[in-house]
């Protein structure tokens, strides 16, 4: 190799050396961070009775005074059935012991628990959010593995959820719920709360400001914590319903599906999708429009509530006569939106009424069903089904379903829903 070529290669090597030297520096920073805060991340276990069998596991982090922040859904069993379950913490340093619930927030899926955890360093909470693109680290105990750290990128608040959640693309898995998401200095900017079922690396965190406010309320609470949290959960669900009602207040947005006008998406936190059912051997077509509010509150494995869902189906006959089309309508009227969550423990049976109602421009058969929550005072599930009558080849079937709402809220939205349906003639 000639001298100029050697000089050139040396110059290139000198330029690249700092860059090459940075790669080991990045991972050592992560390692240092991990070593600094790992002892403050606990595994929270829900055990059945006096056995050591796990009914549920999650994660949490120490915030001082023996307090640990975790998700409500991790300890839901203990909150609702205190005589059946018990809580336990396990720390990386080997500490282990029982936990008691101090406070819960079902709407934000938070809980504060307390135990004799010893001199474990508390993690600090960031009151200011990160900037989009900042790196963050989520810690927890995923899927029965040991303490794990997952890197992700802060992407700001999700635009689609009803409550504020941080969108954090990172491999957060089951078991990491309740664990902290920290910045590069080890301060908590979020609490692991959920992942998107149908998306890879689409995870959500609860902003640390929520956790900070919640912790403040828990610390300043004067009354001793109750043994059974049913009453507290009912109070929080009713507050959630009031917030939901405020967000749905005002005239309902509508959309034209000629010759019909029907209620449309009610706000940005409502997700909508459309579809069509066409089969070669079926002489009619069904076009569907489905909208749901992403406001569900987890209460226990058999109950998620606090949502509003509605669906419109346009039935179009291609070659059926009026009587056969009416039969198709009857069959479709039987197929209704129904709640995925039904249990004897939480719900009474449905009581229904059905009448012919004169909507604007068309008559419709309307069926309304109501059931009440047994554990949570003043909360109901309601379904409203509408089927237009009188046309031989076109019909609208609409359904409105409201879960975990007050009676007044259900009736108010039902009336506005019916009044928003119009047939232009």
């Amino acid at each position: 190799m000639s001298f100029p070529a050697r000089l050139f290669c040396l110059g290139v090597a000198l330029l690249c050396a700092p860059a090459l030297a940075q790669e080991p520096g990045v991972s050592s920073q992560t390692h240092t961070l991990f070593e600094r805060i790992r002892d403050s991340v606990a595994q929270v276990r829900v055990l059945l009775g006096t056995s050591d069998t796990h009914a549920a596991t999650g994660s949490g982090f120490v915030v001082g005074d023996g307090l640990i922040i975790t998700n409500y859904h991790v300890i839901a069993g203990k909150a609702l059935e205190p005589d059946v379950y018990r809580l336990e913490f396990v720390l990386p340093g080997g500490g282990r012991g029982p936990l008691q619930i101090v406070a819960i927030d079902v709407v934000n899926d938070l809980a504060v628990v307390k135990g004799d955890i010893g001199p474990v360093k508390a993690l600090g909470l960031r009151s200011q959010p990160l900037s989009k693109g900042d790196r963050g680290f989520s810690l927890g105990y995923p899927l029965g593995q040991g303490l794990t750290v997952v890197e992700g990128i802060y992407n700001g608040l999700s635009e689609e959820l009803y409550y504020e959640r941080i969108h954090f693309p990172g491999a957060i898995n089951s078991g990491m719920s309740g664990g902290p998401a920290v910045d590069s200095s080890g301060r908590v900017f979020g609490v692991n709360v959920a992942t998107h079922r149908r998306g890879q690396l689409v995870s959500f965190l609860l902003p640390a400001s929520f956790a900070e406010q919640f912790l403040g309320r828990a610390r300043s609470a004067k009354a001793p914590p109750p043994r059974n949290y049913s009453s507290a959960i009912g109070t929080q669900l009713r507050a959630h319903d009031r917030a939901l009602r405020e967000s749905l207040d005002g005239p309902l947005p509508t959309q034209r599906l000629e010759p019909l006008v029907v209620p449309a998406r009610m706000g940005t936190s409502m997700q909508c999708a459309a579809g069509t059912e066409r089969e070669r051997e079926r002489p009619y077509v069904i076009n569907s429009y489905y909208c749901y509010m992403r406001s569900a509150v987890y209460v226990d494995p058999k109950l998620q509530t606090g949502t509003v869902v509605f669906r419109h189906r346009i039935l179009l006959s291609l070659e059926l006569g009026p009587l056969r089309f009416a039969h198709v309508q009857e069959m479709q009227f039987c197929n209704s939106v129904s709640s995925d969550y039904t249990s004897h423990r939480h719900h009474t049976g449905f009581v229904c009424q059905d009448h012919i109602v004169a909507l604007e421009g068309v008559r419709a058969k309307v069926a309304q069903c109501l059931r009440r929550y047994k554990l949570f005072e003043g909360l109901y599930d309601m379904t409203l089904k509408v089927a237009t009558l009188g046309e031989s080849s076109l019909a609208l079937h609409s359904e409105l379903q409201m879960d975990g709402v007050s009676y007044e809220h259900a009736m108010d939205l039902s009336r506005r829903f019916l009044e928003a349906i119009r047939w232009n003639r």
Binding site: Q353, C369, R371
Partner: protein
């Protein structure tokens, strides 16, 4: 005077009957093998004094003896056999039932490929009905010992048509008048009708000689039908996911119904709230 009875269980000289001064009759057993009874007693007697209302039984023959002046009911014409026992009436009734099945299947099929399935389902129902009627007709016989397949078949077809007419008309009335109680009446009426069909079947069979047997069987059928419907409703009510309301749109009857305003409809929901609050307080 001798009265000869065509009864192999009566002796050649079985009893002797004489007038009494009181206007009654004395009857003596002439040492027969099977004896003489004065109903309702089943005890054999060698002699008795009987009046115009007493029934005497010798062998398989029962008789009363009345004075000439005693008032009795007029003679009744012997029924030659009800018209419905004939094949013609059964054929007409069966044809109407098959026609309603075909019409119902036509209305309820909405897939192009279901025509063959429709024919199969109609044929299956007809074959099942014919099999049941054939089995039933083997159980009973008419007094004339003729096969009564046609009679049973006629009763069954008329019963099916009556049930359909009853449930359809009450269903339409309940829909048009918004009267839920009519749907309850529909179930009760259907149970009674079903019981009556069972009663007529049993009356056709000559072994059911006593009307009481047929009546008891009909009552059992009514209770079973009604109890079964009630049990299904109760089981549905116990399911917290079940929403039981009328799904029927009753075309084209709904064209006659005006309908109430949305506000009026919602105002009626207070009844729902009261009902579920009651449920919650009881559970």
């Amino acid at each position: 005077m001798d009265v000869i009875l065509d009864d192999p269980f009566v002796a050649a000289a079985h009893v002797e009957i004489r007038d009494t001064p009181e206007g009654r009759f004395a009857i003596d057993d002439l040492q027969s093998l099977n004896g003489m009874r004065v109903l309702p007693s089943s005890e054999t007697r060698t002699s008795a004094e009987i009046g115009p209302e007493d029934i005497v039984r010798i062998g398989h023959t029962q008789f009363r003896i009345r004075p000439r002046f005693y008032a009795v009911a007029g003679e009744r014409r012997i029924r030659q056999g009800a018209a419905y026992r004939g094949a013609v009436m059964f054929t007409i009734a069966a044809a109407i039932v098959v026609a309603t099945l075909v019409w119902d299947a036509f209305l309820t099929t909405s897939h192009r490929d279901e025509k063959a399935l429709t024919a199969v389902s109609v044929f299956t129902v007809v074959a099942a009905g014919a099999k049941r009627k054939a089995i039933w007709s083997l159980v009973g016989r008419t007094a004339g010992r003729r096969a009564n397949f046609a009679a049973h078949g006629f009763v069954a077809c008329v019963g099916v048509l009556a049930l359909q007419l009853w449930t359809t008309s009450t269903g339409y009335l309940a829909f048009g008048l918004n009267a839920g109680w009519l749907e309850t009446l529909s179930v009760v009426g259907a149970a009674l009708l079903f019981g009556y069909i069972v009663y007529r079947h049993l009356r056709l069979a000559s072994r059911a000689k006593r009307r009481a047997h047929a009546t008891v069987a009909a009552c059992v059928a009514i209770v079973a039908f009604g109890g079964g419907s009630l049990l299904m409703n109760l089981m549905g009510a116990m399911d917290p996911a079940a929403q039981s309301h009328s799904y029927s749109l009753k075309a084209p009857f709904f064209l006659l119904v005006r309908g109430m305003s949305p506000a009026d409809y919602i105002a009626r929901s207070s009844d729902l709230k009261r009902a579920v609050d009651d449920l919650a307080s009881r559970e």
